[in-house]
Symmetry: C2
Subunit: 325 residues, 2 copies
């Protein structure tokens, strides 16, 4: 499977860090675009000796890969992904796959016409604790889920300029919230019905349009109530960059991911579980689905459901209205 | 200060358990009303040898107390409290002080006309960890609060019949949510601007109208985003009845109350603080304010702000609309 990589702004390392375990994938070329982590991309992929392109379209045309990793500027994800799909190339894309509804519609149309697959980089589905929690939920550990709370809290630090403008950043709900909202889809397997969200760009330490805090409240089609709390207020002194959490309250128990552990309370009592190391990853999983037909833990449809949810949540926050899916 | 007690359905023990420390308070009579915890009330107050009444109005007329504790059926709180205020009696009232908007308006009018004070039983402001967190916030430990998340999770067990009907229970947002919503007022000192809430009475283990899960999302007047997650899904096996939490994210740090501890991350790092034992309590504080003028940690105005917030949140959930204060 010929493979190319475009850009190095976000999580393209999800792909290159597992390439050595994927002999079926041949990295033939990269287009680092001089972006944030271009040097890391070039260095990490050197063992595969990929050709380097300045022009990503030329790369797709000449290399004709089966699969491309897209991690360019956020506002160009949709255009790059659509161009790849139109060339018959499967797409592994940084989230959010679109930063506007117009981009999303264009991309979804390109996907439908292509017969190819697209997945966004929801790598936190595969984090050891979150993956273990998923398997427990699937095995019925907490019964029917009624209430979901998720959290993403990041350190802000000093962000590059593109974070300071809505047109190049997209917003904190899309960028940070993607994970928190994706966990809701992941654990419930349900569809969103409506969303009410707020976000706030004041007191953001001179980061322009960047929202320092946000909160999204969803109702799902089957009645599940779910919310995502999102902030950049984690102090620089904290032990880890992010404080990622999920709490799932069900009819048979409560399950929580907190501090990298899984906390489970069920009929057998209250205990903390050390998750085993993850045995799957988001890029390898996609490759296996394409190559061997083994289903990934995320689908194309969920990729678009997530993309729509974050844009609707951002619009809800911008307009102070409740929006229906 | 002559003192009487009406009813024993909820938290009237907040009053009688500290009576021995309040020599200025003379408990002269009780009207246990044959309610849920009547036997406990009678037994615990026996050392003061109070007269017992079947008719609480007759008790108020004959005893002419300065202060009354009201803990009757939920749907009668407002009527009992208004009757006391009209007799010039200060009121310490189980929350919610009203289960309908009509009751709330009637009660607020009676309060304004009375020149007397009313406080609802927001005892969790005085829990050791929550009180310590309050003092840290007041001292500026986390700077300006931007995001608040609160949680009340209770064991359901088998509840008495009155919990199964909206007209006698009031709803899970008023009953359980009061605390979670009160913490928002407590820590921010701000006023609510709007609320969007959901609640769900399905899968409630044969508890009629009782909502098993709820979630309320608020925007405050100064832009703070705050939410309260509320559920009765805590398994019977859990170590404690409730899992009470607050997380406050501010411009200078993150403070969290969890498992009875205070977790603080600020410029000095990440640490867990054991709170000192609480040196105040909700009933004693009210008595001291009345007797000595020392301000309590909660005001009459906050009592009504909370009462309005829970009714608006319940109405938001009932009507699937966002409501403004």
């Amino acid at each position: 499977m010929k493979f190319c990589m475009i850009g190095a702004r976000g999580h393209s390392y999800y792909a290159y860090q597992v390439l050595k375990n994927l002999p079926e994938v041949q990295l033939t070329a990269i287009a680092p675009l001089g972006d944030l982590r271009a040097a890391s991309l070039i260095q990490a992929t050197a063992p595969w000796n990929p050709r380097q392109y300045d022009d990503w379209r030329a790369m797709l045309d000449r290399e004709q890969p089966a699969l491309v990793c897209i991690d360019g500027p956020f506002e160009q994800h949709a255009e790059m992904a659509a161009e790849a799909l139109r060339r018959g190339i499967h797409v592994f894309c940084e989230k959010p796959v679109a930063t506007t509804f117009a981009q999303l519609e264009m991309l979804e149309a390109a996907w439908r016409a292509s017969g190819r697959h697209i997945r966004s980089m929801v790598g936190l589905r595969y984090d050891a604790a979150f993956l273990h929690a998923y398997r427990l939920v699937q095995a019925g550990a907490i019964g029917k889920i009624k209430l979901v709370r998720t959290q993403k809290s990041y350190k802000l630090g000093k962000r590059p300029e593109f974070y300071k403008r809505r047109d190049t950043y997209g917003g904190t709900i899309p960028w940070v919230g993607s994970h928190a909202i994706d966990w809701i889809l992941y654990y419930t397997g349900d569809a969103f019905e409506c969303v009410t969200a707020y976000h706030d760009a004041t007191d953001n330490f001179d980061h322009g349009d960047l929202e320092i805090a946000a909160h999204c409240l969803f109702r799902l089609k089957n009645g599940v109530i779910a919310d995502a709390g999102i902030d950049f207020l984690r102090p620089a002194t904290a032990a880890t960059h992010g404080d990622d959490r999920v709490r799932l309250a069900g009819t048979k128990g409560v399950l929580e991911v907190l501090g990298g552990k899984v906390h489970l309370i069920d009929a057998d009592g209250d205990r903390v579980l050390d998750p085993p190391p993850a045995d799957r990853d988001v890029f390898g999983d996609f490759v296996h689905e394409l190559a061997d037909g083994r289903p990934s833990l995320v689908t194309d449809e969920e990729t678009f459901a997530l993309a729509r949810a974050i844009l609707l949540a951002r619009e809800s926050a911008d307009t102070l209205t409740t929006l229906h899916f």
